[in-house]
């Protein structure tokens, strides 16, 4: 997935950022309007608070303390005004923050659900070109970052109102005082925009570098056994050191830059106050304004000192949300969706014949994995697919389960093209078990039923046939034991057997096993195969196998060499006609024979 970098111009950031916010706001208008309303109330409260302080100074503090007026009757209104404005302000804060938070969290949820839902419909050929880590980062980080601007946005609009309001009030106090405030605030906003726009790309660089540090650590730790077996610990440490020090330099440089801007802003606000003071003093001297006017103006500016710094943060969030949103969109716009027809499944109607008609396939356009494959498997047969490493056996089974679609040609079950089935219908006829089946973070039973309704006896029966019942009953909670990341650790062979039970319980019309017992101990595997053979499955079985014992289970063998069906027939026939097949299957036997000859 390409990582689009941030737009560099401030205009682009603001323009695109506002469009983004607008889009989210249209989807959920009520919380958005409430949040902006809260922000406006908040701005009003801040201005009111400054008026109250000015009023208290002018009509209470100065008259009483400097003018010697009596304090009676003056304190209560002052207290009431101060506290009343504060309650107003607190209510506005709660309204603004709650509404904005709700908007942000719900929008995040919307984005994530749309992403996952869309991806569930995409073809595996698209997934094969992606890194799973990237896709998850998009659903997690990017969804958060794309919506990150929503929480501070209402506040920022409130602060903007506040700035405008302050400047307007200053103009009401006096034209010259207002002019100083206007110029000062314009300068502040200009610097804030520059800060966000220059620091953002550097920050993105930090994120990328953090990713690199993390992937070095992941790779080294995953390959720890290999690292140690080859005595390359020092090399790995050096690899990490290079990335980690690069990261440290980036962080130091970026933070220095950011701090410089921050210091400028924090010094600029009091500088504006000083300018207002000087101009105010001159105007007081001229008799144009009162001292109280200048005090309330100064107080207002003081209140802005902190919120004004938020503008840079919001712009920063905007700059971050734009590329994040682009990455989200780039997934949502992928149109390699799996196309479905309208055919309904005919479940429970006994084994189905499987046919492949000149099937050609490659994971990438230029490489051919399967070439002109013709298959004809009668209903109810058990067929072994045999071939050397890398000949295309697994690929063929994935095509039969329609995990991928052929480049050309077609595959039919009971005469119906796999692509003509409606969504969710084909799995009711075909079950597929791979070598590395995925187990969900669920109970053992849940992993077998996958959420469908089955009687308990059916679950146990399927588990028994898959040779899984015995070890399942030894787990702490039997069939209700949780597996997955935070559950029981299972061995590879145990996982394979649960996956096998998952397929068997469905009593599919076509059962496809891609080396599905490769990690199971040979003696247990032999048992499983015997049970499969004797069970009266209503299925056509297609299995990828190496071991002659598995092959012997089959009525027929399809021998694949370099992506082509070299031959189809009984084991005996192929032993006769296919020297490659005979060599593969008899490798151990011949090896043993040769050895006993040479030792004789």
């Amino acid at each position: 997935m390409a990582t689009p970098t941030a737009p560099v111009s401030a205009r682009a950031v603001v323009g695109e950022g506002l469009r983004l916010v607008g889009g989210f706001a249209r989807a959920r208008p009520v919380p958005f309007v409430l949040a902006v309303l809260g922000a406006a109330l908040f701005a009003g409260a801040i201005i009111a608070a400054s008026q109250v302080i000015g009023w208290v100074t002018d009509s209470v503090i100065v008259p009483v303390l400097s003018g010697g007026e009596p304090r009676e009757g003056k304190l209560a209104p002052a207290v009431l005004a101060i506290v009343g404005v504060a309650v107003w302000k607190a209510a506005a804060i709660v309204l603004r923050r709650d509404a904005a938070g709700y908007l942000q969290f719900k929008t995040q949820q919307d984005v994530r659900e749309r992403l996952i839902e869309h991806q569930l419909g995409l073809s595996l050929s698209w997934f094969a070109r992606q890194s799973m880590g990237d896709l998850l980062a998009i659903a997690d980080n990017d969804a958060r970052q794309a919506t990150g601007v929503l929480a501070p946005f209402p506040y920022a609009s409130g602060v903007s109102l506040l700035i405008v309001g302050t400047v307007v009030l200053m103009f009401f106090i006096d034209f010259w005082v207002g002019l100083v405030a206007l110029l000062g605030m314009a300068l502040v906003v200009f610097i804030e925009v520059r800060a966000a726009v220059t620091v953002y790309p550097a920050w993105e660089g930090i994120q990328r570098q953090t990713g690199r540090v993390s992937s070095v650590a992941h790779e080294s730790f995953d390959g720890a056994l290999t690292v140690k077996a080859l005595g390359r610990e020092d090399y790995e440490v050096e690899r990490l050191r290079t990335e980690s020090e690069d990261l440290a330099h980036r962080i130091a440089a970026t933070n220095s830059l950011w701090e410089t801007y921050r210091v400028i802003i924090t010094a600029l606000m009091p500088t504006i106050s000083l300018a207002v003071l000087v101009v105010g003093a001159i105007r007081v001297d001229a008799g144009a304004v009162t001292a109280g006017d200048v005090v309330s103006g100064l107080y207002l500016l003081g209140l802005l000192a902190f919120p004004v710094q938020l503008i840079a943060f919001v712009l920063f969030d905007m700059a971050a949300s734009i590329p994040a949103h682009r990455r989200v969109t780039s997934v949502l716009e992928v149109d390699e969706v799996v196309e479905y027809g309208s055919e309904r499944a005919a479940a429970d109607s006994g084994p189905a014949p499987v046919a492949g008609d000149r099937v050609t396939f490659g994971y990438e356009p230029e490489t051919v994995v399967l070439d002109d494959v013709v298959l004809d498997i009668p209903a109810g047969r058990t067929v072994a697919v045999v071939g050397p490493t890398g000949s295309g056996k697994s690929t063929l089974t994935m095509l039969l389960a329609r995990l991928w679609d052929p480049g050309s040609g077609r595959i039919r079950i009971d005469g119906r093209d796999l692509r003509s089935f409606a969504r969710y219908e084909l799995p009711r006829e075909v079950a597929f078990v791979s070598q590395n089946s995925f187990l969900f973070d669920d109970t053992v039973a849940g992993n077998i039923t996958l959420g469908a309704e089955y009687r308990e006896e059916a679950i146990v029966e399927a588990a028994m046939m898959a040779g899984a019942h015995d070890f399942i009953t030894e787990l702490p909670n039997g069939y209700d034991t949780r597996i997955g990341e935070r559950g029981a650790a299972l061995s590879g062979g145990q996982r394979q057997r649960i996956a096998l039970a998952r397929a068997l319980i469905r009593r599919p019309r076509v059962l496809i096993l891609d080396d599905a017992t490769s990690a199971v101990d040979p003696s247990i595997e032999a048992q499983i195969l015997r049970r499969l053979k004797s069970a009266d499955l209503p299925s056509t079985v297609i299995l990828v196998a190496y071991r002659p014992s598995s092959i012997r289970l089959a009525d027929e063998v399809i021998y694949i060499e370099e992506g082509r069906v070299a031959a189809q027939g009984t084991h005996e026939e192929l032993m006769q006609s296919q020297p490659g097949y005979a060599r593969l299957v008899r490798a151990y036997e011949e090896d043993a024979a040769e050895r006993s000859q040479s030792s004789r």
Binding site: V60, K74, L120, A224, E233, R241, I251, L277, G302, F438
Partner: protein, 591 residues
């Protein structure tokens, strides 16, 4: 070994001391940073004071003293610039020291972990261990960068504001400080509730990530079984729960946050009332009171931030303790202080009363006494869980025995230098792990000085040149992340060549060809047998063909070495091996 994922029980202070010792750069002249910051902070107090002075003295009813206003404003501006410069200097120093120091700490932790056996013994904990060098350090980094700054800046601001208040009018100061302390205590109490809520948020977030991750990584299963709707339902529930929990927690925090306004107003009102009640006769002038209103404002914000930062500080503290906890682990495999060199030539192996168990776990191997003669070919067999892989790991010192001793070439393994051991003994684990890069890069990984020609020769020696040629880019083919572009069997081939190229005197293979097809398996074994003639090889075998060809077979069952001897003898004996062999023959016989 349990302390790697949990937070160790040491105090945060001890953690900080330890971190400062490991990465002294972190604490380098910290006092200077604090001092420079204090100077920067002072400005924020001085300016309101100057403004107050000006309003009080120069903006009176009697008239305005313009020259005095200008002088004071000019003075204030100079102070501002100085303050800004010193604050920036402090922050830039802190940024450099923190990032550099934490990078040093990260490298030390990584160095410690990569040498520790926990990574391959408890592979399910790898994710947690990766976070020791990533997210834990990032949390500390963010804290020092943001939280730490807030701590220093706001702490200084609070101190200065309080000092200024006390200097002005101690009774009003007492009122303000007393109220702020009470308020801070109340906030702290709520903070604890907030912390619990955050923990809940973290859990639901982790859940939602796991569910989304399953939907994407488990897609082939989801598709194959047509459970898209069920999966989407799960995703929806997890995300719904997450957004609800996040919102509730945020709403609680918002309510808490908004009380600050009411508190500040109450305090302001209190100051006005008490100030006026005291009156000018007690020294409270209009200027003093106005200055106090500024100072109260200056105090509330930092106190609030300080309380907010506390839970961040707790997280960073926990991260720090976990990081330091890794550094405090004792190495399971210790480098010898006085290493002994392995004797030249072919190496034999002796196991002498070896017992092994993982800490706190049951025995995995017991009473293993065996001698492997130099130059012999030994196969190790047994069912899954019988202890045969542990035997291999002990043999190459990936693990150390709990009891007894393993000797190679007559030397106790614990006394052999790691580099010496790795040069002479090659171990090929089952996983066939490949690093991102080309096939040539991966072969050279263990033997960086190998030329292209040597790499090619190694493939030819093992009879794999045909396979190599079938790849689109030959030696320069990119294997992808963790070798994902190759099949499991192909990855094993590369891993085998990688070990082979270093021409070891003792070769230990742990089911190193379990995923390749039978014909290739036989071919590889013959090549290895031919090439290792005269050298010692130990093969953990999944397929008994290897055992048939070996000079001697070691049979493990439930952690014990139960049988040993050449293949024909063991078959005749009719024991464990004989029955394993019968299963094998039944599986391979074509007839």
């Amino acid at each position: 070994m349990t302390d790697t994922t949990e937070t160790p029980r040491i105090s945060t202070m001890a953690g900080i001391r330890r971190a400062l010792k490991e990465a002294p750069q972190l604490g380098h002249r910290l006092w200077l940073i604090v001092l420079l910051n204090a100077v920067g902070m002072l400005v924020h107090v001085l300016v309101p004071v100057l403004i107050q002075q000006t309003v009080d003295r120069d903006l009176t009813e009697a008239g305005v003293d313009i020259p005095s206003v200008l002088t004071k404003a000019g003075l204030a501006f100079v102070v501002l610039v100085l303050g800004a410069w010193s604050a920036r200097t402090a922050m830039v120093r802190l940024a450099h020291q923190a990032s550099g120091g934490l990078s040093d700490l990260r490298i030390k932790v990584f160095d410690k972990l990569i040498r520790s056996s926990v990574l391959h013994v408890q592979s399910e904990r790898r994710g947690a261990l990766v976070s020791r060098v990533t997210s834990d350090i990032t949390t500390i980094q963010e804290f020092t960068e943001w939280g730490g700054v807030v701590f220093i800046v706001n702490g200084t601001q609070v101190l200065i504001a309080i000092t200024a208040m006390v200097l002005y009018e101690w009774r009003l100061a007492l009122l303000v400080v007393g109220a702020v302390v009470v308020y801070a205590l109340v906030l702290l109490w709520f903070q604890r509730i907030l912390q619990r809520n955050y923990d809940r948020v973290r859990r639901v977030v982790a859940d939602s990530l796991a569910v989304m991750g399953e939907a994407v990584t488990g897609l082939p299963e989801v598709r194959a079984f047509g459970i898209e709707e069920k999966t989407m339902e799960r995703v929806h529930h997890a995300l719904e729960r997450r957004s609800r929990t996040e919102f509730r927690t945020a709403a609680f925090g918002n309510a808490l946050f908004s009380t600050a306004e009411i508190f500040a107003a109450g305090l302001t009102a209190g100051v006005v009332v008490v100030g006026i009640l005291l009156g000018p006769s007690e020294g409270v002038t209009a200027g003093v009171l106005i200055a106090f209103l500024f100072l109260v404002n200056l105090l509330i914000e930092p106190v609030q931030s300080l309380v907010e930062i506390l839970d961040f500080a707790q997280n960073a503290g926990a991260g720090l303790r976990r990081v330091v906890g890794v550094l405090d682990r004792t190495d399971e495999i210790q480098e010898p202080t006085d290493p002994v060199s392995l004797p030249p030539g072919v190496l034999g192996v002796e196991f002498d009363g070896v017992r092994f168990a993982y800490p706190g776990g049951p025995d995995v191997l017991v009473d293993v006494d065996v001698e492997i003669r130099p130059g012999s070919r030994v196969a190790v067999v047994g069912e899954t869980g019988s202890g045969k892989t542990t035997f291999a790991k002990l043999l190459v010192r990936m693990l150390d025995p709990v009891e007894g001793m393993v000797r190679i070439g007559g030397v106790d393994l614990r006394q052999v230098a790691r580099t010496d051991l790795r040069r002479r003994v090659a171990f090929v684990p089952q996983e066939g792990f490949l690093f991102e890069g080309t096939i040539a890069d991966n072969v050279r990984y263990g033997y960086p000085k190998a030329s292209d020609r040597e790499v090619r020769t190694a493939f030819i020696e093992l009879g794999l040149d045909g396979w190599l040629q079938s790849l689109p880019g030959g030696l320069d083919t990119h294997v992808g992340e963790r070798g994902g572009n190759l099949s499991a069997g192909e990855r094993q081939l590369v891993a085998l060549v990688r070990a082979w190229i270093s021409a070891p005197d003792l070769l230990v293979l742990d089911e190193a060809t379990s995923a390749v097809d039978p014909a290739l398996d036989v071919q590889l074994r013959r090549a290895i047998d031919r090439l290792t003639a005269g050298r010692t090889s130990v093969t953990i075998a999944h397929r008994l063909a290897t055992a048939e060809a070996a000079d001697e077979v070691l049979v493990f069952e439930a952690g014990r070495l139960v049988e040993r001897g050449p293949h024909p003898e063991l078959v005749e004996r009719g024991g464990v091996y004989a029955s394993l062999y019968a299963d094998w023959v039944a599986g391979t016989l074509t007839g």
